[in-house]
Symmetry: C2
Subunit: 103 residues, 2 copies
Amino acid sequence: MKTHHYAVIFSSSLIDLDDSKYHGFSKEMLERVAAASGFLGVESYREKDGKGATISYWETLSDIQEWKQNARHLLAQKYGREEAYSSYQVRVCEVQYSYSFSK
Amino acid sequence: MKTHHYAVIFSSSLIDLDDSKYHGFSKEMLERVAAASGFLGVESYREKDGKGATISYWETLSDIQEWKQNARHLLAQKYGREEAYSSYQVRVCEVQYSYSFSK
């Protein structure tokens, strides 16, 4: 992955872990985001208590803005606020440096 | 939380979800980091397949460096590489902007 890139940390509290409409949107968004301009990767985690995070990686800040305005993504965001999440926090970050370990 | 701050995204693959020594280190690190200089907060998630992320928030880059060099934390990192994790990636980020939603 590029050294100079951006990360969006989306931390959320999901109300109902078994919300099938949420899972439908989630699956669709992961498919759509993979084709978005400047998209570099995504990782997603969820605990049993409903708390989780999705971290996506991007080439530029404008790629992030463009994805935020995607029509289907706007609909998913609306569903998220109205039904799926009790709260969420979004942090848009510039990656300063990174390192990794692998066996 | 402050607007200008830093995030460390620590993504990892845990080999054994039931590794009691890992859980001991994890608990100790969460207690110690709470008292570290410049520490603002932490969130941690783990999936059943062993993949997870811990995201910590910091006032400055030097606070992050200082915590990385903490003697007990160095021991935990060593255990992580030698036994607990099959791989991990660390990304040190500057938060550019953030927003949140709550019901």
